[in-house]
């Protein structure tokens, strides 16, 4: 215990601070994921539509998200909007905008992929049975799409939770930053605290991401 420097974890309010930092990371991811799922579903359906203009616009959007590192997007939104438009966005609002911007693009592409993976024959058979377009989606296509989407979107959610560590660059103090603060503040008295604390941070991330993965597995089985 001593050698890992875990004793610093229980000094003062350190552990509560660490959990507070974890909540910041989880809060940003949850809000962003909720926004991304709603907008991503809309975007995915539109991407499979016939409009060439819409497809081109989404293509450009998706490419921008893919080639721009998230850290650059964070700087553009947090500092860039102040320089260009004079908006004074808080760091949390900037983080949510960036993570939703990223999540919507990825989610839209996942939805698009899941939709086109449903064989043409399914649409045609459903229509042959006399279902309207709305009914075709509601009873035939979407249930199958959602099932295919779950593993992919869980992957996105857990990736998003882990990427929240970048928000420290725009002044937000999340779990990893708190860990660094605790390690530095105790550098002299517990030089080995880094190993123990990073292990604890890993366990905290695991404690959040693992139940999400389990839930996905459960849903996948139930709906299969």
């Amino acid at each position: 215990m001593q050698s890992l420097g875990l004793d610093v974890l229980f000094k003062g309010k350190n552990f509560v601070r660490l959990l507070g930092g974890l909540w910041v990371a989880v809060r940003i991811s949850l809000i962003s994921v909720a926004i991304s799922i709603v907008l991503g579903l809309v975007m995915g359906v539109l991407m499979t539509g016939k409009s060439r203009v819409l497809k081109a616009v989404f293509r450009v959007y998706l490419e921008i998200v893919r080639i721009m590192p998230q850290i650059v997007l964070l700087f553009v939104v947090y500092f860039g909007t102040t320089r260009v438009f004079g908006w004074d966005l808080s760091s949390e609002a900037s983080a949510i905008i960036v993570f939703s911007f990223w999540g919507t693009a990825e989610m839209g592409d996942l939805v698009r992929g899941a939709l086109i993976s449903i064989p043409r024959i399914q649409y045609e058979s459903a229509e042959a049975l006399g279902l309207t377009t709305g009914q075709v989606y509601r009873y035939v296509i979407l249930p199958q799409t959602v099932r295919r989407l779950i593993p992919l979107s869980i992957n996105l959610i857990t990736r998003m939770i882990k990427t929240t560590s970048l928000v420290m660059m725009i002044g937000m103090v999340e779990v990893l930053k708190v860990a660094q603060q605790i390690i530095e503040a105790n550098r002299k008295t517990s030089p080995n605290a880094a190993f123990g604390l990073f292990a604890v941070v890993m366990l905290l991330y695991f404690a959040i991401c693992w139940p999400i993965s389990r839930l996905a597995g459960y849903l996948e089985k139930r709906w299969a």
Partner: protein, 288 residues
């Protein structure tokens, strides 16, 4: 096939256009800032500090900001009659914070350089930084001329110490390491006769490791640490300069040193590191 390539070229062109419009916008206008009166009226001053660079700016186990920079920041708030809102900054984003007016002052161990002075306005300095050389106490290196032809000096790659020695003492053989821990082991094992690094680093090392002494506490270009404000924020800059001058009379930064840095750097280096009243040793009148 051709069509697909054409489409990709168009996509790439549009993305580039976006990226360029962002970058050209980004430097279009000067940053916004709050004047001294606006800060006083709001009752809060935003000060950017490090939250994980002990002992200059860090957060203690109760979640409170502490350190040499923070001690000064608290005094600024007290003398302005406003509350201090500490903003946790990273080394890479300090200038951005000032240029966008998201903080009023940066007090994050900010070394004054010519390049930075073009982007932000520095107030008077409150600390010295230079290079230092630590060596074993039975073979102390007190001058770089003491180093023999076959002796090797340990440096960490990419540090200012490496650059300085390569430029000014090309004959000295260097032993380069990537990490602090490796350089430390090398010195302890006697692989090199001395270790050159930032003087704060070598002083702290000598205090933590008996048997080693800092033979050269101050080497190379003497840089200073100073508060910085947004370029053009003269009201705040003038107030800060007056404040630093006035604090010199009560030896404020010595008190700051004794409260925050004494444990790490010891009493011997107080006058080497502290700048009082904004007057560095080079400018001080002769005889003092």
């Amino acid at each position: 096939m051709k069509k697909a390539i054409f489409r990709r070229v168009i996509t790439a062109a549009i993305i580039f256009a976006f990226a360029f419009s962002f970058s050209s916008f980004a430097y279009a206008d000067e940053g916004d800032f709050r004047t001294l009166d606006e800060i006083k009226a709001s009752g809060v001053i935003n000060i950017g500090v490090f939250s994980d660079k002990s002992p200059f700016g860090y957060v203690d186990e109760n979640g409170d900001y502490q350190g040499y920079d923070v001690y000064f920041a608290n005094r600024i708030g007290e003398d302005l009659g406003v509350e201090v809102n500490f903003v946790s900054t990273e080394a890479a984003s300090r200038i951005e914070y000032l240029q966008t007016g998201k903080v009023d002052i940066i007090l994050a161990n900010f070394t004054v350089t010519e390049e930075r002075a073009e982007e932000v306005d520095f107030a008077l300095p409150y600390m010295n930084v230079a290079l230092g050389v630590v060596s074993p106490e039975d073979a102390v290196i007190e001058s770089l001329d003491d180093i023999g032809e076959d002796d090797q000096v340990i440096v960490i790659s990419g540090t200012t110490a490496e650059t300085y020695l390569v430029e000014n003492y090309p004959d000295i053989k260097l032993q380069k390491y990537d990490a602090y821990a490796e350089a430390k082991t090398a010195l302890e094992n006697g692989n090199g006769v001395a270790w050159a690094n930032d003087n704060t680093e070598v002083i702290a090392f000598a205090i933590e490791n008996p048997g080693f002494v800092v033979g050269i506490p101050s080497l190379g270009s003497a840089d200073t640490i100073a508060p910085a404000v947004t370029k053009g924020n003269t009201t705040l800059l003038d107030w800060l300069n007056d404040e630093i001058g006035a604090l010199g009379e009560e030896e404020f930064f010595h008190a700051d040193y004794e409260a925050t840095l004494l444990d790490v750097y010891g009493a011997d280096y107080e006058d080497t590191l502290v700048v009082e009243g904004g007057v560095t040793a080079a400018e001080a009148p002769a005889g003092e």
